[in-house]
């Protein structure tokens, strides 16, 4: 009996801790959103941090990311086109590819790519800043760390995810067209491509695609930062904060993706 009650107490405590952590994420997201729209946030120092964040998150990896998007698009399109041909549906191959690759896989993988590369780095850096009391030192100097270090990272990370998604979408559309036309796009009637693009990228799809990309961008910065600023200021908690942040981030990214799919195909 006592074992069962101990188990229930443990689960309740763990559940409360999870709720608190989500509460921290929501509070930081709300503070960051207020800060992002406030002109008082922006000065030469914060603009510098935003530019640096975009440089490290998007510009530095642009070449590799574009190559990755191209290879992935070529491979996935080839698989989809071959499958469509087997079922006698080759006329729909381009539409299949756009719906699966361009609207779903590319934005999702972009978010995961940035989350792994930048989300983990931001979480570690903010944890170390707090542990070393760099944020406390800034406050004592009259510098708001929220304005200088946290909000610019959210802005820079979000802009980066949106920019990389634009690059990924354009590259995957071009690669899909290239494969489906038998690597001879100049022989295919351009009206075919225009028709499929108009059909797949309608208002709802575009709204969902960019709404999803915006939420991905916010998630990959807000969640790791919220986890880091609420972790205890002990060195051994830094990896735990990164771990919790990344797991929570993965869950949220998947939730956004599933939510977008439900809105597009179920509701």
């Amino acid at each position: 009996m006592s074992t069962l009650s101990d188990f229930l107490v443990q689960r309740t405590v763990a559940f409360e801790a999870r709720l608190r952590a989500w509460g921290h994420v929501a509070r930081f997201a709300s503070a960051a959103a207020r800060g992002m729209v406030s002109p008082a946030t922006y000065n030469s120092a914060t603009r510098e941090v935003i530019a640096r964040q975009i440089y490290f998150t998007a510009w530095q990896i642009l070449g590799g990311y574009t190559a990755f998007a191209a290879v992935l698009s070529l491979v996935v399109t080839q698989i989809l086109a071959a499958t469509a041909r087997d079922f006698g549906l080759y006329d729909y191959a381009l539409e299949f590819t756009f719906r699966l690759l361009v609207l779903e896989i590319v934005p999702l993988l972009t978010a995961l790519f940035v989350a792994l590369r930048t989300g983990a780095a931001i979480s570690t850096e903010v944890s170390i800043m707090r542990i070393r009391n760099e944020t406390g030192a800034m406050e004592r100097l009259g510098i708001d760390p929220m304005k200088l270090e946290l909000i610019p990272r959210v802005i820079g990370g979000t802009v980066s995810v949106l920019s990389l998604t634009v690059v990924g979408v354009v590259v995957s559309v071009l690669c899909a067209h290239f494969v489906v036309t038998g690597f001879r796009p100049w022989h295919a009637p351009s009206a075919d491509l225009q028709l499929v693009v108009a059909k797949v990228f309608d208002g709802l799809s575009m709204t969902l695609l960019w709404g999803k990309a915006l939420l991905f961008g916010l998630a990959v910065t807000v969640i790791p930062i919220a986890e880091a600023i609420n972790a205890p200021r002990q060195v051994f908690y830094a990896p735990i904060a990164v771990l919790h942040g990344m797991v929570r981030l993965f869950f949220v990214i998947m939730l956004i993706e599933v939510g977008a799919l439900v809105l597009r195909y179920v509701v």
């Binding site: 000065n43 030469s44 120092a45 510098e48 850096e125 170390i128 800043m129 070393r132 009391n133 760099e134 406390g136 030192a137 800034m138 004592r140 100097l141 009259g142 510098i143 200088l148």
Partner: protein, 156 residues
């Protein structure tokens, strides 16, 4: 300079007396071991941040101001090194300049012997405070009474 009205020395009996003394000057700019610099920024960027935030200067204007201060302090060569690459004296100078740029009526240097354990702090402080005399109003030196010998006058 050290021990004058512009740079008085406050020797306190213990930690609680030190905290009580610091609490009397909540608006003072503090130079302390507990207030580190941003590890991934250079000495110049760390100091310039204060000017960018508190004086709303562009980075170029703030950097020019900090370069002049570093030149005056005799540490211009250290400007582009990051915090982990600085020695204790360079780090102290950066922290002091951050405090000076706050334009607070008082700068408090909290336990110089803790910040500068490898050199006689009095000689170093005296030289730095003299060089930067135009850039601060008053600078309190706060340390424990048992370190009094570190601040005793020394023959040249």
């Amino acid at each position: 300079m050290l021990g004058s009205a512009k740079a008085p020395l406050h020797l306190v009996a213990d930690a609680s007396a030190r905290e009580a003394l610091l609490a009397t000057q909540p608006e003072a700019a503090l130079v302390a071991e507990s207030l580190p610099m941003r590890a991934n920024l250079s000495m110049l960027e760390n100091v310039a941040l204060v000017a960018q935030f508190r004086r709303d200067l562009s980075f170029d204007a703030a950097a020019a101001l900090v370069e002049r201060l570093l030149e005056r302090a005799g540490y211009a060569d250290s400007a582009l090194r990051r915090d982990p690459d600085l020695d204790r004296e360079e780090r102290f100078v950066a922290k002091f300049l951050r405090a000076a740029l706050m334009a607070a009526p008082i700068i408090i240097v909290d336990r110089p012997a803790l910040l500068l354990p490898d050199i006689p702090p009095a000689l170093f402080l005296d030289r730095l405070l003299t060089r930067l005399a135009d850039d601060y109003d008053t600078c309190w030196i706060v340390d424990y009474a048992w370190n009094a010998s570190l601040y005793a006058p020394r023959p040249d």
